[in-house]
Amino acid sequence: MDCELTPKLLPGKILEVTDLGVKVTLKGRMGIIQVPLRSVITDKSLQVGQEIRVYLSYIQVV
């Protein structure tokens, strides 16, 4: 099936911060992303509740 995966810039919020990474929930509650600290770009130190944004598309099984 030929389907267009389009990344969308989504706002979200930080749910959890560890020494290793963050867990964020996306606006619209359509997903949760966990990434290592390296993948987070920030001007201030990370805290739960901070607003974030990230590009995400639907997931396609290949």
Partner: protein
């Protein structure tokens, strides 16, 4: 009993017998004639004597009665003038083509030009078709048949001004009392339910925290008849909201939950939401740990909630009819001669809460219904009245702004609009599930196409709640309908976050349901669901398309301006 035009056509070669007293000068039509199907009985009982010179129905239609005559009088050449000569070659043949019979029937009417002298010219343009003459049966002056009522549903609304907890469940003088022990008792609805609580939230005390809202459920019950007909009692001013967590405190769905302050998390007044003045009866259910992500967990919560509502329904059943503040009467119609259209509601069908109970026993109930996932998500036809009488109980949970809750289906704007519109003939409402896997999507879409083809509709509106891979079926459903030459309009939230992932050439008339200024799923319950104004836009667009007016190509990206501009047409 007089007969219809259709019956007359079927009995074209049977004897013509008056059904009632008729006066001299009457121009004979079907409504003056008795049904030949009962002649054997009439003859046997001596009420009717047919003679050799009886005229047939085909011969007498349009002829004139020359003298007063009683019921059960067979019409003969002595009684009528201007009847037609018998065409013998047609007799005995079963005629299934009604239009042919109608045409030959009309041939027997007469225009008489007794001209002794004529000076001048008669000009008849090419294409004159003498086999069709412009006469109608006098007593049935309307060519367009009346809409015929198939079934009638009466919904009586009863005001609720206060809700209390008390010793007995009762509903009297606009006060609903709910039995204290009912919640505990509801646990037996399903062993997965570990706790259930109930509290009352008046309209002026809504700034309270709430776990995620799984559903908004109207309180309604049958007092007579089955779903879609008879009488239903509905409470006005009070509505149930169902919330849920598991034993570990996890929201019953990790994604798309809308826990938060009720006044901030609900767009009040949407078809699916509590209304601004509604008292909310909040039922909070705790299910077994880690079952919130499984199909059985959330369903158990709905079962417990339904158990509680059922006792309230029993009290509501007893409300005296005269105490109702409003009575709505809804009809399912058979409309002949108006363009046949269908409404297709694509519903979630991917398991867990992405599921819906179809046709429970009680309005908006759970028991007695079957879930679309268990029906393999194939299309199922409901009558408009069945939908309006609570034929769908939604288990759907995510995302908050775009999900259609149970109350939404109870007050579905498109169902109401299309059912009441007298320019169209809404033949039914099709519910089709959206499965997970693309092959399954195609399978059910193909069945929708076959169904639409068999229904022989001229137009269709396809809606889908939510967004995500259900837009794949949404596109395919529209294509399956559109490529059969049926005019089709789609309605969905897409906007920014839910942009369509596939498309086809039949998706040229789309209604955007987004209400968020930035085009996001904004986590406010029911905000971007289908509202009456969306319904009007959709139906107008369908009528426009059916009238052959071209639809302008859509913009590449979502823009609120388009919606605003289109909205003007319906204001």
């Amino acid at each position: 009993m007089s007969i219809t035009v259709e019956t007359a056509e079927q009995h074209y070669n049977d004897p013509a017998v008056l059904c009632c007293l008729r006066q001299k000068g009457t121009v004979i039509s079907a409504s003056d004639l008795e049904d030949p199907a009962i002649f054997p009985d009439l003859e046997e009982s001596g009420l009717l004597k047919l003679s050799e010179d009886s005229l047939t129905i085909g011969q007498v239609l349009g002829s004139t009665l020359d003298q007063d005559a009683d019921a059960m009088t067979p019409l003969t050449p002595k009684l009528v003038s201007h009847f037609a000569e018998k065409k013998t070659e047609e007799s005995g043949k079963i005629t299934t083509s009604l239009s042919a019979a109608a045409a030959s029937g009309l041939n027997n009417s007469v225009i008489r030009f007794s001209i002794n002298e004529l000076k001048g010219q008669i000009e008849i343009p090419a294409g004159f078709d003498p086999s069709v003459l412009p006469f109608t049966i006098p007593s049935a002056p309307k060519l367009e048949p009346e809409d015929q009522i198939i079934r009638t549903l009466t919904q009586r609304e009863f005001d609720v001004q206060e809700v209390r907890i008390g010793a007995e469940t009762s509903f009297q003088d606009k006060v609903l009392t709910i039995r204290e022990g009912l919640c505990t008792e509801s646990l037996k609805a399903d062993p997965l339910v570990k706790d259930a609580e109930l509290d009352i939230i008046p309209p002026d005390q809504r700034h309270v925290y709430s776990n995620t809202i799984m559903d908004v459920i109207p309180i309604a019950t049958k007092t007579e008849g089955i779903l879609g007909e008879g009488t239903t009692h509905v409470m006005r001013g009070a509505v149930v909201i169902l919330t849920g967590v598991d034993e570990l405190g996890v929201q019953v769905h990790e994604f798309g939950s809308c826990e938060g302050y009720l006044d901030e998390k609900i767009r009040f007044g949407r078809p699916g939401s509590p209304d601004p003045d509604d008292i909310m009866i909040r039922i909070h259910v705790t299910v077994q740990e880690n079952t919130g992500m499984e199909r059985r967990g959330p369903f158990a919560a709905h079962k417990a909630c339904d158990y509680i509502i059922q006792e309230i329904r029993e009290a509501l059943k007893k409300a005296p009819a005269e105490a109702c503040v409003k009575e709505d009467v809804y009809h399912d119609y058979k409309k002949t001669g108006k363009p046949r259209v269908v409404l297709v509601k694509e519903i979630m069908g991917q398991g867990a809460m992405h599921d819906n109970v179809i046709l429970p026993t009680e309005p908006a109930g759970v028991k007695g219904g079957r879930r679309n996932v268990d029906l393999g998500n194939v299309p199922v036809v409901l009558s408009p009245n069945e939908v309006r009488d609570g034929g769908i109980h939604a288990l759907t949970c995510i995302g908050p702004a775009t999900k259609e809750v149970t109350r939404h289906y109870f007050r579905e704007p498109l169902v109401n609009l299309m059912a009441e519109d007298n320019e169209i003939n809404l033949v039914g409402v099709i519910f089709i599930g959206s499965p997970q896997v693309n092959d399954e999507k195609s399978y059910v879409s193909a069945r929708l196409g076959a169904l639409a083809e068999a229904l022989d509709v001229e137009g269709a509106i396809v809606t889908t709640e939510g967004f995500g891979n259900n837009h794949i079926d949404f596109a395919e459903n529209i294509e399956q309908i559109g490529r059969r030459g049926i005019k089709v309009v789609g309605a969905s939230y897409c906007a920014y976050q839910g942009q369509l992932v596939v498309g086809n050439k039949y998706m040229d008339a789309m209604i955007e349901l987004n209400k968020d200024k930035d085009g996001f799923e904004n986590e406010i319950l029911a905000d971007s669901t289908l509202c009456p104004s969306d319904a009007k836009r959709a139906l107008l667009m369908l009528k426009t398309k059916m009238a052959g007016v071209p639809i302008e190509p859509a913009n590449r990206n979502w823009s609120q301006d388009v919606i605003d501009a289109n909205q003007q047409f319906i204001q």
